[in-house]
């Protein structure tokens, strides 16, 4: 599929957290990474660091060798866990993974999104994701009453 000169480490960590998807400058790959990757669908702007991580992952996930794929998935999960990736960026990658049908990429990022929902109160989840509550207080109360065990806190 692509010419890939494999560098042996992920790029040096950028102290700034990646953009939230509203940056207009696209990044130039650093000189030491000669990656000419021909992705069918270009990755949306998620900031230079994350873009490289995602591109590398997509390449490795297409490998025939299961060990390569497993190592790549573990690396990706580690990265996601340790880097502060903004909500919007997470969702942009999720959507992208869905479009290019990369199940492992989708899984890894959805898992992170799920982690942000787990064990949180409904109001907290709304705030994190910017979900607008369009229930009336009465409607909401009735819904909570439908599944009381889910709302025991």
């Amino acid at each position: 599929m692509a010419e890939f000169n494999e560098t042996d480490q992920t790029p040096t960590v950028d102290p700034k957290t990646p953009n939230l998807g509203d940056s207009t400058t696209s990044s130039q790959p650093k000189p030491e990474q000669i990656t000419t990757i021909d992705v069918a669908v270009p990755i949306p702007d998620v900031g230079p660091q994350l873009q490289v991580v995602v591109e590398e992952f997509i390449l490795k996930s297409g490998s025939d060798d299961e060990e390569v794929r497993t190592a790549a998935t573990n690396e990706l999960r580690d990265f996601i866990e340790h880097e502060e990736i903004g909500i919007t960026t997470l969702l942009v990658v999720v959507k992208y993974a869905h479009e290019v049908k990369n199940v492992d990429l989708l899984d890894a990022f959805c898992e992170r999104v799920a982690d942000l929902i787990k064990d949180k109160k409904v109001v907290e989840v709304r705030e994190i994701f910017g979900i607008v509550n369009d229930f009336t207080p009465g409607e909401e109360q009735a819904l909570r009453y439908e599944h009381p065990w889910a709302f025991e806190d």
């Binding site: 909500i87 999720v94 899984d107 959805c110 064990d119 994701f129 979900i131 909570r144 065990w149």
Partner: protein
């Protein structure tokens, strides 16, 4: 976490349904159900989840309520299924507290109509769950896992036509019924039977690649399993095995593609019955790892099982053996000089790991044999059992003095206080 935007735009709610479902699938069901209150668009998203996992964390935490069907898990599952919409591909029910009740049978009936593909059921220990006949009409099953269950397949049952993975743990089933179950699921690739109490087992499974048997078996025969790649057998029955034939052939006679063999407890003993070294063919060209536990080095016949294995596996890379030997009074010690094929070469053997070794004569001869015939050996890892009264350090010195075929062996020695 990036929370310094005051009013954030909602990017999540309008994502494609399948993405939302993927995210919700990764949540415990409680959290998934809670999303119904997020906004009107979220109200029913959770009801179309196709993968459901119900366990003791799903509901109220105190023990009293848990036990009652009216509260707790039963109520949760009932209401959930009532509101559920669409197919269910994977269903897991795992509870230490939930005992058998009519609801469970009803849930299975419900699932059989939803074309469920993966089913996992495990209830409380107190009373084993008797699987209702509707379980056997889940024709779309690809994976089935049952714990503490009584299985009584109906007479007309012709097997699960799509079943690839079967995992039965602590199951009560008639011996010929389990054999028929296995052989009638012609696509079966992976079979696990644990805590199994059944005397004889013959496995006929032409597509099986993974086999794990653990329990009180008197006799195991792998009759039609040509595709097996990984085999793990643990035999807990201690009495002398009666056999008129060669057990080694019964178990490993028809597994040319085997890559990994693991044996626990009385496996080596079982395999020794009827075994001869005779003329050994390189039969297991893919066998790379042999992992045996509780091997009795006092018993020459068990050692011959190991030898037969390693002599028939030209590409063997790793041997791991846990010993279980007591006698310092060895019989047949001259075997090593007379009958043992001294010119054998283990060309690919790289790692040897031996534990619970006591320095007994047969153990030492075995180590010497391996060291002298493995030109590619990289690691010889030996852990010695040390008794309080034991002050003898000679065993490791003796091993170091053995002639080695490989120049690069790394010796790793350790001691285990017994």
């Amino acid at each position: 976490m990036d929370t310094n935007l005051v009013s954030r735009e909602d990017y999540i709610t309008d994502l494609p349904e399948s993405i939302i479902e993927t995210i919700l699938t990764k949540l415990p069901l409680r959290d998934a159900v809670r999303t119904s209150v997020l906004s009107s668009k979220w109200r029913y998203t959770w009801t179309t989840l196709t993968e459901l996992r119900f366990d003791d964390d799903c509901c109220i935490s105190d023990a009293h309520h848990r036990a009652l069907p009216e509260t707790g898990l039963v109520k949760f599952v009932n209401q959930f299924l009532l509101l559920h919409n669409g197919p269910i591909t994977r269903f897991t029910l795992s509870s230490e507290y939930l005992e058998r009740c009519p609801y469970v049978d009803q849930w299975l009936l419900f699932l059989s109509r939803k074309d469920v593909q993966e089913l996992s059921f495990g209830l409380a220990e107190t009373e084993w769950f008797k699987a209702p006949s509707c379980l056997f009409s889940c024709k779309k099953l690809i994976a089935l896992e049952l714990v503490r269950c009584e299985l009584d397949p109906p007479l007309h049952f012709k097997g699960f036509p799509n079943l690839k993975r079967l995992n039965l743990q602590q199951i009560s089933i008639a011996p010929d019924a389990v054999e028929t179950l296995i052989s009638s699921c012609t696509l079966l690739e992976s079979l696990t039977l644990s805590y199994f109490e059944g005397a004889k087992l013959t496995v006929r499974a032409p597509n099986l690649t993974y086999l794990m048997l653990e329990g009180y078996f008197k006799d195991i025969c792998l009759e039609n399993t040509p595709m097996l790649v990984v085999v793990s057998i643990a035999m807990y029955m201690a009495e002398a095995y009666q056999s008129s034939s060669c057990n080694f052939d019964k178990v490993l006679g028809g597994v040319p593609s085997i890559q990994r063999l693991t044996g626990h407890s009385y496996f080596a003993k079982y395999m020794s019955i009827g075994n001869t070294l005779g003329k050994i063919q390189p039969t297991y060209r893919q066998l790379k790892i042999i992992d045996l536990y509780q091997v009795s080095f006092d018993d020459m016949t068990e050692i011959m099982v190991i030898l037969r294995l390693i002599l028939s596996a030209p590409n063997l890379q790793t041997i791991q053996i846990e010993g279980s030997s007591w006698s310092t009074d060895p019989l047949d010690l001259d075997f090593w000089d007379k009958e043992c094929p001294r010119d054998a070469t283990f060309a690919q053997l790289k790692v040897v790991k031996l534990t619970q070794i006591s320095g007994l004569p047969h153990e030492m001869r075995f180590i010497e044999f391996l060291l002298g015939n493995s030109p590619a050996l990289e690691v010889m890892d030996v852990t010695k059992n040390v008794y309080e009264t034991d002050e003898d350090e000679d065993m490791f010195m003796e091993i170091l003095a053995f002639e080695r075929a490989s120049d690069d062996v790394e010796f790793m020695f350790a001691e285990d206080q017994v």
